[in-house]
Symmetry: C2
Subunit: 385 residues, 2 copies
């Protein structure tokens, strides 16, 4: 039943202490504003070598964060990419120095709508400037330089993380030896934008959003709207086959006909996804970051010519897609690969056969892990790491 | 911007006079309850011949209604299937007597959650019993018999209409000479259920839904929740190609970065779809009817054997799917055709190549229209109509 009590985040997001770098001068954003100061919250795994040449930056997806290979401080669950990052894993922390930072606009310690608006004594909220994927990358660059690293051995990420990888390679090519955009696309499609818009409409429709000023009442969050946004997004992360395998048409309990209770297991699962998400994510961050994804159009940033984004690049690329991913279908990766070929880039491409949908990049996919690991080992050898 | 004033339906749905048949004894429902009385609102087109042998029943989809081939009394727009039904059209009203009724549980004159609850002096609301697709068909059967028709030349419908076609053929085979289930499936998939559940969650989350009792305050409707439900459903009706062709990434106006305004044309379009829908549809009907779709599982009704639903059938079937329909993919129609073949039914199947997605069955698809028209002419000739 849906008339549940409002779900209050616990512990409150802002009560968590995150490891941060502070940049008082901030950043000049694509929208023309200067955002200052900027904090970038991050985690590192493994050790930076003496030559500072073994750093791998991992970029997270829409609802991910910097806790990619350790227990999450809010949820208590394992890191979101423990299948990929760790000792002996494809991104081998015995060999590489792995950096992951919360994106600009996020809610896990990096400056975002929940951060204090300077001089106002209140959070930015919806006054937080509109940001782009390129702005996220600029913030990451501040962090990388702060860590004393001139060039990243690799930048790796899936979904929105893959968009950041592409922006890194296009905007700071000299800093990226190897790039692995995974399960991503060089722009958000009309369908991607449409699904995001449903999520935003759900948040906007929640009276507890209060025009973005829910922070005026301590503990208030637009839990119902954010939960619906998460539910619809979650469907797009799974393939139809994955949903069928997981749930099919299995009923929860009695087969009694009722329209006020959850009847099918898939419904309970989605509701659970929605309600747990609300505990760890900020609604205004969700609005800000989905907008950044929608704006993303790498070709448009280069006069409509995607290949121009990579002209004269010396970065090595590894592009991977998953056969049942309908949010970022293989065809989008092919478009990217064609542009990279046109730019005479060094590129390898693999489509992984999987029925797990978009989320496959986060899951146990041995063929993908072997391919990514091989690519990184090859890059490291080439660079003499 | 989303902080719009609540949209009040105008004219109010209940103020419209619909043509109805009244059944004081009502219906025994699948859930065990008896619903009485039952009104069935309907429209007819063309003339019933002396032998009463030229009747074609058209079943509407989730948000359709009986106004399939004339100006809609609430929206003022043309009928939803004017491309298919009319003089000289595939369902030729010069030749056939076409019947279309609002489904049980609907909000255009047939008994549903908005109807008076007998003896209570208030609408049924969420006390309206859970109904099934088979219950909808039982109500249609009352109407068909009321019109003095023993056997339908054909039962035709797309999407949820196609589910009703299948129930007609399975439940009352002697009354159905020909059946045309279009862009449909013999059951709702986990993904279908999941999308429906997002829509229901959005309605439940709207405080103006008031636990289903919004009718207590005149003019109040859960407009925001119902609008979000319509938005997400609408995405599933279109293919990615159709969205891209219609809107691509076109910006609405200035390219200024903002996250409070609609930026992309596809967003405005979706919002418009949502807000106009609220004017013509009842939220509790939406809950009731989506549940009926989710329950639909024809094989489960026949011991898990889909072919058993059609055993010894003498009905002629025409099954059609559309190549870019990802809500009811062609594979679902193939499953149906295999079962019909197993039951030794007379069946023809066509997959129409179209990039218009699920909605193709409503649109200008000449190949589909030619095939459907040919099937109906063939059936009429066979029956000597």
């Amino acid at each position: 039943m849906n008339q549940a009590k409002p779900i209050l985040p616990e512990p409150h997001l802002s009560e968590t202490e995150h490891q941060r770098a502070h940049f008082p001068d901030g950043l000049a954003l694509d929208c023309g504003a200067v955002l200052a100061p900027v904090d970038v919250a991050y985690r590192t795994y493994g050790r930076l070598n003496a030559g500072r040449s073994n750093a791998v930056l991992v970029c997270h997806a829409l609802t991910g964060d910097q806790y990619l290979a350790e227990r999450h401080p809010l949820t208590g669950r394992g890191g979101w990419w423990e299948a990929v990052v760790g000792p002996g894993r494809p991104i081998d922390t015995d060999r590489f120095f792995v950096i992951c930072s919360n994106v600009l606009g996020g809610c896990m310690g990096t400056t975002g709508p929940r951060s204090d608006m300077p001089g106002e004594g209140r959070p930015w909220g919806t006054d937080f400037p509109s940001i782009t994927i390129r702005d996220m990358v600029r913030a990451q660059k501040l962090l990388v330089e702060h860590l004393g690293i001139d060039r990243l051995l690799a930048v790796v990420g899936g979904s929105m993380g893959g968009m950041q990888v592409l922006e890194w390679a296009a905007t700071f090519p000299g800093m990226v030896f190897a790039a692995a955009p995974i399960a991503t696309a060089p722009h958000h499609s009309a369908q991607n934008i449409a699904f995001d818009e449903v999520g935003r409409a759900a948040i906007h429709s929640d009276p507890d959003w209060r025009g973005g000023r829910y922070w005026e009442e301590p503990g208030l969050v637009p839990a119902k709207g954010l939960s619906v946004a998460r539910m619809v997004a979650h469907i797009t992360y799974l393939s139809e086959q994955a949903l069928t395998r997981k749930f099919g048409r299995r009923l929860r309990g009695a087969s009694a006909l009722t329209f006020l209770e959850d009847v099918f297991e898939v419904e309970s699962y989605l509701r659970h996804q929605g309600s747990t998400f609300v505990r760890r994510f900020d609604a205004n961050s969700y609005l800000t970051i989905t907008r950044a994804m929608d704006y993303f159009d790498l070709a448009a940033e280069h006069g409509g010519d995607l290949a121009a984004a990579f002209r004269n690049t010396r970065t090595r690329f590894f592009v991977a897609s998953f056969s049942s991913d309908w949010l970022f279908p293989t065809e989008e990766s092919r478009t990217l690969v064609r542009a990279l070929n046109q730019a005479a880039a060094n590129v390898s491409f693999v489509e992984i056969t999987s029925d797990k949908g978009h989320d496959a990049f986060l899951l146990d996919e041995p063929e993908f892990h072997a391919a990514l690991g091989g690519f990184l080992r090859g890059a490291a050898e080439k660079l003499g790491v």
